[in-house]
Amino acid sequence: MKNSIKVQRAIHDMTQADLAEKIGVSRQTINAMEKNKYVPSTVLSLKIAKLFKKPVEDIFFLEDND
């Protein structure tokens, strides 16, 4: 699974630490997601989508091998 968290962060002018604090996770978690090393849970994905006021599908996308 891929995501556009980094792009969304840039649009909202947030650092990894800002986003981490807003959704209550560690900065490493944001970093791991942006590097596609960690697939977040449904709860976390929904929280991120809600914060950016976008549907989940606009932030997280399936890849061909998923």
């Binding site: 990894q16 981490a20 996770v25 560690s26 978690t29």
Partner: protein
Amino acid sequence: MKTNYLLPHTYKIWGWILLILGVFSGIFLIIIEYETNILTVPVIAIYSDPFIGEAGFFEIIENSILDELASIAIIVGGLIVGFSKEKIEDEFIYKLRKDSLVWAIIFNYFVLIFSIVFIYDLTFFHVLVYNMFTPLLFFIIRFNFLKLKSRSHEE
């Protein structure tokens, strides 16, 4: 992230102290080859079969409890270190912890298989002693390594 088996983060430092104390007294015991009279006290043995004398159930025997204390310190300290919350406990840390546990079990048994095949006689006794603690120690090392690795990849 809600988990029912993790201790509060403040316990972690006490876990480290206990673990380090245990490891150092363990190393001391290995150096003196477990021959010591320090802290010799009467203890209850469920079953005891000494080299000299009769075997028996539920006897009170004299024993140096330094090795017992060291073992318990390593195990309890290790459990506390491995299973207390991080400063920010979230689902990613939870995954790292689980992955480290799986890695530690598999790695430990590979090392044990290697030891069974290539280590014999009394030396194998030492392998058995170490193997009481290695799953926990490998887990702690792996977990902290993964945490460090995830921290070092900055933006």
